[in-house]
Point group: C2
Chain length 682, copies 2
């Protein structure tokens, strides 16, 4: 039996690691490594130090005690562990350790196998940028394009991707994309309008450029060829195309008048114990980690259990350009980069209106020190239009409510692109996960006057490649308890018959429960709906099991060939929906090691293939959604938001519409300057 | 040659008829009829008097002159006509006349054929309600249910629907549904919780109840049978279930704090000449008629032509209960009732926040007098969240815009149900048509303890029947002119090949222009997109024809059997998209006479079957969207909004994102009471 070294912590088990805990975890790992090698502090390179969430069997009783109103000191003890992703500074080996902060022991250890790699971290990316932009061979290649002397060269660092024909991928690699700033050299100049068609490959372990790939710039008639134009004239047709307001040449609009959101009494939500949120009968915890970014835990409505954990699990962004090196381009922005690592400081941009609460968190640097990341999550309310309405035609009395929603938002910038993720809690019992895709398209050079099968010309000489965004939302339900069942409901016409359907107008709902872990696809022509229900608890009104339905737009799934690397790496994106039996730590749809992966290993397809019983069990549902993005000219130089929503909607969970108990709307006076305004209160 | 009787009017050709014009048109029709029968003023029963829009060939030059800045007096002359839907008071004959207000002549006349009927008008419905609720046979039937003495009985009047087996439908009929108020008799009591299972059939022409249909109340084991329970105990299990705030027994929430929308400088839009709206480079006209309700005309962006006319064309709401008389239940809420006739007075409910402009319009009564319908359309701006964002990772500078939208909204109440329709104009060049379905489900009685294949039990004894809502949006484009082409774009993987796709990651976009009028269906697995383009005008950047794409969620289409009356009446709802060659007056997807129709006649399926050339022609695109609604318990007693959106999005219409020219957000101070608030300006 191992003695507890530290006292049981008073931090909530779902709270991200504190700065002290990050330091503590790093120190423990170094101590553990010192037992194996003398100078561990120099050989361990920290990538990510983050909370390893407690097993559900231990956490659930704690959450139940909390929900029942017990003080933290009276709740069951829950172990506190850190998950450390790290590498050896002196050998090509990525590792992961789980460190107990209670016993100061390494309680789990995993060495990456050949062709398994951690993602890229920030320090590495900075080092790569310096090495690439000072590499004499790279500079010589760039020089061939005869750019003006004072032009600033910049580079983006992409995950190398995977090419099973090459042998390089036992090393972790970076594929750089080189751009120039516009000649005026403004720091906010949009480099994506000046792509330079050479792409250095950099090895972070060796800290050197190992190769420079040429980039194809041809059109429909050029096949996969490179060097279709002499370098000295290759860039002549490029022009600046700026997104930043200070660089708009035509001036700015002046005819948009202010619209203010004012909450004179403050917001309606309450935040306690740092991360526990309550609002309009909902309670939940907000979490954060380097990989998934914002997470949602222990969601209850009026005390009833609804969801144990909600998270974006993974995403993949394959590109449709077959020309090397673009054929390898397939980002896994969570596993490769991290939605926590890339989360924006939301006070920098004006990302929401009204009364906002921000949440800080902590990441770490490569020597294991905590790094504060302020305002990476924000919380605010929004008016969402009419919630319901009925006008009684006999009295002309209109009964109406406004729908107020609570938004938990995080925004990530992954190089050129941004994603705005928002969990939206509704008064009508629904929860929506909204994704807004925006930012700047990945661009490459195309010769003057040519067009391409592989993308659209969105600015002179600028090809924006076709690509897909396929996200996987991990939904860990606890609909009145963890013993849940996934049911597929299809709406199907009934055959003509004198006994049942004499006029041909009837249909029935076919309900099929999933018995074994598996997958399923959307079928809009059958109005296919997936519901998570608790078969042991029937709705008192309808007699149906209480449940929530999962509604998403049916995305086009992976287009790449069935045998392609793209497909093998992202099996999760081959189906719209998966159901698996819950296992602690099984969080990542695309597998643990996504960077340069050959296959999705330990991802959702492996979990589903266990063929576990899932009827009336502790299940997890994984929803794949997204879009195929064949760019429009209007998506450049910065893309208007493309919005995708997954809705979790009560379906016979309540015994009536839960959003009835609102008073009628009233008017409120507001002073702006010397003028008094009457405004509707929502 | 006919002489002009009245002077050319100064009213804009798209302005709805003025009260004087309504009176004038009615008088002309009576005069025309007097030439045929002596006492025409007593024999004509007016249903609807509305603007007959001018032919496009005459209107377009007028609109172009207007757009070019010419004064009304300098624009071409456009005829002014009224369309009158009417019936003979003394014979079963519905008619339609087009009356020239310029020449005082009937310029077109149509007599309904057998089994063609106008819809129901308001005066008829009021007469029907009185006749039904005082009919001794109806009262005797109701008495059998032994309701308390003082209970108020109410009835809803439904279109009779169609049953090809019966012979009654050479008469226009009403199928009544009988309800009771809750015993407390509050005027806002929700009658839909007390359905009485007898359904009188009423003949408006005879002004009498011609039959009383019994209603089935059984469950899954009762087949199509009626009278499964003795009437004296049939209603014993019903309980009140109220939506109105003053009837909520548990009290109302008090923890939602005010959220105010304040526009201290007023709105950013401008309304001129009564109905011409300009906002953020958009200009358009808003129209209104009894049938379609709100319409949108002459949409231009920065002077460029985009859409000639946008309108909801028709909708059908078939129910899935095969038991008589429910098997006939299939509402066409535009053709049968009218989205203009049923439009709400929006000042009654608090339907929008901020600075709102309302539009009044005029309908008429059965003697041809104008009836003002105030505030049936409203106009306001909304903040729509982040419009686009990019954080420059090199400088940490976040560039971000809020998306402001302009909303033109109308809300209709059709008996128990409401629809909220909103045209939303975006700064990024897109236009969205949002439909929110809300209101109260159509209910029927179900025996205690039973459940049904045909709906869900949503309150004790209350069966909410499964139904579909299928809408058809009529999109009349003029993308840089009227010569447009519809293109279907599918995203399709490219076969493996050394020459073109050596790694299997590539795809292409297959573009298929429509040559002949036809239909098409959604295909999300091919990312199918429909674009309206002008092949004569190429985008200077991409070289593609300028265009707009039409994006809608792929709804389940009609479920009813291929041979069923439901299908025959609503061919428009058998496909997601139709393209036809423009014809003046061809506005209604479900045909002219929808009430009790046997077939969709002169609807979009007939128009498409003309096999007209549609490539580079003046085309109309019809988008079918909607939902299959198998009710949840949470949809009762009033249904949280179910939102459907059709988006018209520029696709290589502009040469860049048109929403770049915004200044950065700034803060503004607001006083509320004695406190000063700093609020973000969007």
């Amino acid at each position: 039996m191992v003695a507890l070294v530290s006292k049981p912590t008073r931090v909530h088990p779902l709270r991200g690691l504190t700065p002290e805990e990050i330091k503590h975890a790093a120190a423990i790992l170094i101590k553990v490594q010192q037992a194996k090698a003398a100078d561990a502090s120099k050989t361990v390179r920290f990538q990510h130090i983050t909370l390893s969430e407690p097993p559900k069997a231990l956490l659930m009783p704690y959450l139940d005690a909390e929900s029942a109103g017990l003080e933290a000191s009276d709740r069951p003890w829950v172990p506190r562990c850190a998950r450390i992703t790290w590498s050896h500074a002196h050998k090509q080996q990525d590792c992961e350790s789980v460190i107990s902060l209670d016993t100061e022991l390494e309680v789990a250890h995993m060495d990456a196998k050949v062709a398994q790699h951690n993602g890229l971290d920030r320090d590495e990316v900075i080092a790569a940028t310096i090495a690439i932009l000072t590499d004499p061979n790279v500079l010589a290649e760039i020089k061939k394009f005869r750019l003006p002397e004072n032009v600033t060269i910049q580079c983006d660092t992409w995950p190398y991707g995977t090419d099973l024909d090459s042998k390089e991928d036992d090393h972790r690699l970076i594929q750089a994309v080189i751009y120039a700033r516009a000649p005026h050299n403004h720091p906010e100049s949009n480099q994506y309008s000046f792509p330079i068609p050479v792409s250095p490959v950099y090895d972070p372990f060796l800290n050197q450029v190992i190769r420079i790939d040429p980039c194809a710039t041809g059109g429909k008639d050029d096949g996969l060829k490179c060097n279709t134009v002499a370098p000295e004239i290759a860039l002549a047709h490029l022009v600046e195309n700026e997104y930043h307001s200070s660089l708009q040449k035509g001036g700015l609009r002046t005819d948009i008048k202010p619209l203010l959101i004012v909450q004179p009494e403050g917001p309606s939500f309450k935040v306690e114990d740092e991360t526990r949120i309550s609002w309009q009968k909902w309670t939940f915890r907000v979490g954060f980690n380097w990989r998934e970014g914002m997470t949602i835990h222990d969601v209850r409505y009026d005390g009833r259990k609804v969801f144990y954990r909600l998270s974006l699990s993974e995403m993949t962004v394959p590109y449709g350009d077959p020309r090397s090196p673009q054929h390898r381009r397939q980002a896994f922005d969570l596993g490769d980069a991290g939605a926590g690592v890339t989360a924006n400081n939301l006070s920098l941009g004006c990302d929401c209106l009204g009364a906002i609460q921000y949440f800080d968190n902590y990441l770490n640097n490569s020597v294991g020190e905590p790094v504060k990341v302020p305002n990476v999550i924000c919380l605010h309310e929004q008016d969402n239009g009419i919630g319901w309405k009925h006008t009684n035609p006999r009295t002309d009395v209109a009964a109406i409510t406004r729908a107020r929603i609570l938004v938990v938002q995080s925004i990530i910038t992954v190089g050129n692109y941004e994603y705005i993720f928002a969990w939206q809690f509704m008064q009508n019992g629904a929860i929506e996960f909204e994704t807004r895709a925006t930012g700047i398209l990945a661009t490459s050079l195309i010769d003057a006057g040519k067009s391409s099968f592989w993308g659209n010309v969105v600015s002179p000489g600028i090809l924006a490649a076709n690509h897909q965004h396929l996200f996987c939302l991990r939904i860990d339900p606890m609909i009145d308890g963890v013993e849940n069942t996934l049911i597929q409901e299809d709406t199907v016409s009934v055959p003509y018959s004198k006994q049942e359907n004499p006029h041909g107008n009837a249909w029935k709902v076919h309900k099929t429960p999933f018995e074994k872990s598996s997958f399923a696809d959307a079928e809009p022509q059958r109005n296919r709906v997936f519901k998570v229900v608790n078969e042991k608890k029937l709705n008192a009104i309808s007699g149906n099991p209480v449940g929530f339905k999962i509604a998403a737009q049916p995305a086009q799934l992976l287009i790449a060939d069935q045998r392609s690397t793209v497909r093998r790496r992202a099996r999760f994106a081959e189906h719209h929906l998966w159901v698996t039996r819950y296992r602690d730590g099984e969080l990542w749809a695309g597998g643990h090691w996504t960077n340069q992966s050959h296959d999705e290993t330990e991802g959702v397809s492996d979990a589903a293939s266990r063929c576990d019983n899932v009827r009336g069990e502790d299940i997890v549902v994984w929803q794949t959604y997204g879009l195929t993005h064949n760019p429009r000219v209007e998506d450049y130089p910065v893309m208007p938001v493309e919005i995708m929503t997954v809705t979790l909607k009560p379906a016979d969970f309540f015994e009536k519409n839960p959003a009835l108990d609102f008073s009628v709307l009233k008017r409120l006076s507001v002073h702006v300057g010397n003028t008094k305004y009457h405004s509707l209160q929502s």
